[in-house]
Symmetry: C2
Subunit: 136 residues, 2 copies
């Protein structure tokens, strides 16, 4: 069962409307969503509550949280999907949309002695086909 209520129950967290609806939204999404994206889908969920709901979904393993290159958090359902992992993303600076690219992420660089690597991120920005077409 991948319905939100059962997933939440199985994860051992309280089943609340905010969690159920946020998880539904994440499951329905085709791309990782920002807090603002989700908020516009669930206008009657309090802003701060939504931040905490999303973090709780991450904490219990039902969602993934990643920073995009603008430093904005993006959330996705982490079911059996395992999407968006072995490829990089393109961000349109005009519409803000994210597109999956076929390319693999670049390998992490060698660091000087004593340095510890936490994360690498490859940011690719530009104008998507739609936006480029409209302005032309």
């Amino acid at each position: 069962m991948s319905n939100p209520v059962d997933l939440l129950r199985a994860a051992g967290v309280r089943v609340t409307p905010g969690r159920v609806r946020s998880l539904e939204a994440l499951q329905a999404a085709t791309q990782p969503m920002s807090h603002a994206d989700i908020e516009s889908l669930l206008p009657d969920v309090d802003r701060v509550t939504l931040y905490r709901v999303l973090d709780s979904l991450v904490a219990c393993g039902l969602a993934l949280k990643a920073v995009d290159t603008r430093g904005v958090f993006r959330f996705s359902a982490s079911g059996p999907h395992r999407q968006h992992d072995g490829h990089i993303h393109f961000r349109c600076t005009s519409c803000g949309g994210v597109s999956c690219l076929k390319a693999a992420p670049p390998p992490p660089p060698k660091l000087p002695r004593g340095f510890r690597l936490d994360a690498v991120e490859f940011d690719v920005r530009g104008t998507c086909a739609q936006c480029a077409g409209q302005s032309a």
Copy 2:
């Protein structure tokens, strides 16, 4: 002549204390600085004025503006220096410091038809040697 007043004069912009002092600060810096970095060096320059001063230096070619991976702008003097161009950078998540790495930036990926590339950025985060040592 690479003194700020002459550079500003030669660039055809008005010579103001804020511009002179900001350009001095950028020239003295060993790394690209954020607005906050520069502000702490020039506490009596108005916050908004500093944003505009920095943008004016960029507009007249005396400074370079780049976004770091947290989406924060970083400014550097763009004299005959041409530093920080062919290599990538490491950001310490503990102290916020930036270190130059020897590695070259990864090549830009192929994009789907119609997409236009503006910029790529490789973000490498972790803990620097100093911070790693202190916590150990």
